[in-house]
């Protein structure tokens, strides 16, 4: 597969077209808002935490295919996980997309591995990272709008 096909895999295009866990979540106990100003990617992540476990998680917003697919896949993977494991997953995910290109992809990431191709596209890493930053901010109760670390200007 060439890097482009690797980035825009069918799974990613499908999640972009029909994202999972998309929409409001009335019962949410935690909210986060994320925005990458340059590209306009803008998401809200809603989480229901019960007994230190992510009982439910949904997201709303709009952005590029990579950011939306990443948010969609994230919600699917995190639902039901203990909060500590969700944080661990976020760290592993971040490591994967910012890894050296030749590095082995962490098996524990499961279906999130379809996003490993992002590391070939430095300009797009922040797209894949946005939902995760937003989720982490939500769990930490941070109310400010978070962005991915980026070098954008404008």
């Amino acid at each position: 597969m060439n890097p482009l096909q690797d980035l825009y895999q069918q799974v990613i295009l499908d999640h972009n077209r029909s994202p999972h866990n998309f929409g409001a979540l009335e019962a949410a106990t935690h909210h986060g808002e994320g925005h990458n100003p340059l590209c306009g990617d803008h998401y809200h992540v809603h989480v229901v935490v019960e007994d230190d476990r992510i009982a439910d998680i949904r997201f709303e917003g709009d952005g590029c295919a990579i950011s939306k697919a990443s948010a969609s896949l994230m919600t699917g993977v995190l639902k039901g996980l203990p909060v500590a494991e969700a944080r661990d997953m976020a760290a592993r995910f971040r490591h994967m997309i910012t890894d050296d290109v030749s590095a082995q992809t962490d098996e524990a990431l499961g279906k999130l591995r379809v996003l490993a191709g992002v590391r070939e596209f430095p300009m797009r890493v922040k797209c894949a990272a946005l939902a995760w930053h937003t989720m982490t901010a939500a769990l930490e109760g941070r109310e400010e709008i978070v962005g991915s670390d980026s070098d954008e200007t404008g």
Binding site: L4, C39, H42, I66, E152, G154
Partner: protein
């Protein structure tokens, strides 16, 4: 120069859109002098369509900068030695070349800056702080680049003046009636772009200026996106300040121009202070230098000015009218070809437009478009183009923007369209 304020642009109605227009000058020869255009990116030949962000440099511009450092380098306006004289002459000759480029009446009105942004900041700070008071209004348009919004916003906050925004219609043109209605005795400054960097609209600056003057306001025109595409005559436009950047007109980065009417510049306090802008200094009192040096504190970008003057000579050698005619033909060709891409919508369809096209493709985010185009060797800009208020006006977060230069070709546009069809194909799979 064509009067863009009154004459509608002639658009050929019956030409086959797939037929390549013929250039009025030797574009292939010009391209051979711009060597970066002949490079490969990601194993594909480069298709450079990001000229509104920055232009590529003809070899003679690069050589002018390089031979200045190699043969003439010294500080200007100091010292009696030969090299200092040569450097001063080169710098002042560049000022004269730039003066002819915009037909400014005299050299005292030609101030070298780092670029359009610094030029606007200079006027906003120097003129603004000295002249604005609570109740005064600064009138801008909805299509301004952030650099013609934020400096005014900052000055308004400090002085108590109010920032007022003239609206843009659905075609991306300034609503002239609304603009006229917003003008009044409280309006002190109108700051408007000559050409929109994100959607290409050419504003009727001459008419904007005449109306502003009737209301007693001054006018600053942001010409950063105009000077590469058309002949500009500041006396004909009759604005009060005109600003532009060198790197968007085939010159080096870090050099630009503020032109201003002499009687206004004379009354304005210095913006930055230091060497070169003074006549005499003692600890009690400093006497400022005359124009334009009053506004050129510190050692200027001498090599940048020399390179920019060479860029002007290249453009004047081709002829601004020939460049404009060619780019207009390419714009018509590109507009027709882009409409063949499924789901593509052009944002901003002003009657008078420079060679800049912003567009969206249904269901595909501009950043995904940009990434795929990049892999095909096509360089475009995706994002909000530093015009977030304008993006909001059209209800979109971002666009993909292609922007042409004097060396652009129909083949560049064909390569873009072919790559866009690939984008659509990837996303339809």
């Amino acid at each position: 120069m064509r009067n863009i304020d009154t004459e509608p642009r002639a658009v050929p109605l019956f030409r086959n859109i797939h037929e390549h227009p013929q250039a009025p000058y030797d574009v292939a020869a010009l391209r051979r002098t711009v060597r970066i255009l002949d490079t490969q990116v990601r194993d594909k030949p480069l298709t450079y369509l990001d000229n509104a962000a920055t232009t590529q440099k003809p070899q003679s511009v690069i050589d002018a900068v390089s031979s200045f450092y190699a043969a003439d380098n010294a500080n200007v306006h100091r010292g009696v030695h030969l090299l200092s004289q040569r450097a001063t002459e080169a710098y002042e000759d560049a000022r004269e070349t730039l003066r002819t480029f915009i037909n400014a009446p005299n050299l005292r009105e030609m101030i070298f800056t780092r670029g359009a942004t610094e030029s606007i900041n200079l006027v906003a700070h120097s003129w603004g702080y000295a002249n604005l008071a609570p109740g005064d209004e600064i009138l801008i348009t909805h299509m301004e680049h952030h650099s013609n919004i934020v400096p005014w916003q900052i000055v308004a906050q400090t002085t108590g003046a109010k920032l007022v925004v003239a609206p843009v219609n659905d075609r991306g043109e300034l609503d002239m009636q609304a603009y006229q209605n917003l003008l009044g005795p409280q309006t002190r400054m109108v700051a408007a772009t000559h050409v929109s960097n994100s959607i290409g609209t050419i504003n009727p600056i001459k008419e904007i200026a005449a109306l502003a003057h009737d209301a007693g306001a001054l006018v600053l025109a942001d010409g950063a996106q105009a000077v590469p595409h058309m002949a500009v005559d500041v006396q004909d436009l009759n604005v009060d300040f005109y600003v532009f950047s060198g790197h968007k007109m085939y010159g080096p980065t870090g050099i630009g121009v503020l032109w201003g009417k002499e009687h206004l510049l004379r009354d304005m306090p210095p913006y930055q202070s230091g060497g070169d802008m003074i006549l005499s200094v003692d600890f009690e009192k400093t006497t400022y230098n005359s124009l334009p040096y009053k506004f050129e504190a510190g050692t200027p970008n001498i090599a940048g000015a020399v390179g920019l003057a060479e860029a002007v000579r290249v453009m004047q050698g081709i002829g601004m009218d020939a460049i404009e005619a060619w780019e207009q033909d390419l714009l018509t060709y590109a507009t027709g070809k882009l409409h063949t891409v499924p789901g593509l919508e052009i944002v901003g369809e002003a009657t008078n437009k420079a060679a800049v096209i912003s567009f969206t493709i249904e269901g595909i985010h501009p950043h995904d478009v940009g990434t795929i185009l990049d892999r095909e060797g096509v360089a475009v800009r995706t994002g909000h183009h530093c015009t977030q208020p304008l993006m909001k006006r059209f209800g979109i977060p971002a666009t993909t923007r292609m922007s042409l230069g004097m060396y652009s070709t129909p083949e560049d546009i064909d390569a873009l369209v072919e790559a866009l069809l690939k984008v659509v194909e990837v996303f339809e799979s």
